[in-house]
Symmetry: C2
Subunit: 265 residues, 2 copies
């Protein structure tokens, strides 16, 4: 493996450099115009309210920034508790799955210490659980294929089943959910897809989080379904990865055998 | 494996419920007081600036909220570009490592589409790279132990080396870095430890991010070192996990052999 190290390191440096350049090209002008709009609007506010000095406005923004830093929504008067039990369950889930949206995060010293201890046990537990869940579904799929093979359907069925497994995964985790989010969260299709991808890869930027808009009355059990969908997705990915690793290991064995045979002849 | 499923599922439900209750106890009062302070300070602002109506203040907060949503810092006039090339490299790294702090995230449609495609290739690439890096260090450690064994030092050295490996990991990744962050970022020791833990587990809440405070003049190469420290930490964790899995597999084999021997007698 170690001989691949320099090549892979070059790959990752190249990949990060190119990616950064593209992100810069795509995003920088949007950021600049948002910044200019913000500066201009601040000036408009100062001319609109004569008694408000620049220092006064800075004071207001400082207050808002501090409130946001403590997890308080700065706009609207509809302050739903961030730390009620159901929100806390979802927060705990963002630790153990390592999604970590960060729209909620502990602000007290005790909370942070507990967060470290909680993750220390919780992350391995969740990994084991998800891989067990994944292999449970994998076993079911395997049995189904065996039953079908015994019934005389050609061995090509295994290939078809793998393709179906991939297709099903893509449908359930990337293609269909955005439609649900369009209806419930009023996001665009792309926003829903972006949220799904960022969540199931456990990147979890937290710019889009399902079920937290204070202006939306969510259907009952909506958040439960979102949570279950996340776990199913992660289990599917875990199964997908273990299958891939399995296939790579198998391919490696076959290659090794072939090489040994060649050496004997 | 599948028979462990119901037990593990109960475990995870229990773990999330208990964790949520503790987080609620620890964090809710802090949030409530922050919210009350915010409401009170907003009222003080309204009495201080007579010409400013409640609607006017809401307008200001709306503007600030929109700017924050586009990644613009709402306080201060020191608008460093979020999307210059070096920031973009770090952003790209938060995707491929799945840390995803989210203090920077793409806001344009093109940026989001590219983000999905970028992660699709980048996350597996980074995983492979980190595990290669991990096994590179693992090989070095193994060779060192073999040299030491050949030199006649007792076989207990392997146990000592494993202990040293764990100790080294803890020191380099959790105990020492907070001191550096105390100096450079002016965080408390606990904040530095919280940041280190949340980063290296790839949870990445984004409430603490190293190297982004616009009021601090960072030492040159500081951010490069932080990035390298993150990769080293993730490679160390990858090695740690593969060793653990290896040990579990070995223990399983030993148990299986013992059981087979028992059956034969
Ligand atoms: K994450
Ligand atoms: K995150």
């Amino acid at each position: 493996m170690a001989d691949k190290g320099p090549f892979l390191t070059s790959c990752i440096i190249f990949y990060l450099s190119i990616g950064a350049a593209i992100f810069q090209i795509v995003e920088e002008s949007n950021w600049t115009s948002a910044k200019d709009t913000y500066i201009q609007k601040k000036e408009e506010i100062l001319t609109k309210f004569k008694c408000l000095t620049k220092e006064g406005l800075d004071e207001i923004l400082q207050i808002a920034s501090e409130a946001a830093g403590q997890g308080v929504a700065i706009t609207g008067d509809n302050h739903r508790s961030t730390w009620d039990w159901s929100n806390s369950v979802i927060f705990a889930a963002t630790i153990v799955t390592t999604i970590g949206y960060g729209n909620i995060a502990p602000k007290t010293t005790n909370g942070r210490v507990f967060c470290i201890l909680y993750g220390l046990c919780g992350i391995p537990l969740c990994l084991v659980w998800l891989s067990t869940l994944g292999s449970f579904f994998g076993d079911r799929a395997k049995r189904l294929s065996q039953v079908l093979i015994r019934k005389g359907i050609s061995k090509k069925i295994q290939f078809t089943l793998t393709a179906l497994f991939l297709l099903w995964g893509l449908l359930v985790h990337l293609v269909i959910p955005p439609f649900v989010f369009m209806l419930v969260e009023e996001w665009s299709y792309l926003e829903g897809m972006y949220f799904s991808f960022i969540t199931l890869t456990t990147v979890g930027f937290g710019d889009y989080v399902a079920g937290v808009n204070p202006d939306i009355e969510y259907p009952r059990l909506y958040r439960v379904f979102v949570e279950l969908w996340i776990y199913m997705g992660l289990a599917w990915l875990s199964l997908f990865f273990s299958w891939n690793v399995h296939m790579v290991v198998e391919a490696h064995k076959v290659l090794k055998k072939k090489r040994q045979l060649r050496h004997r002849h």
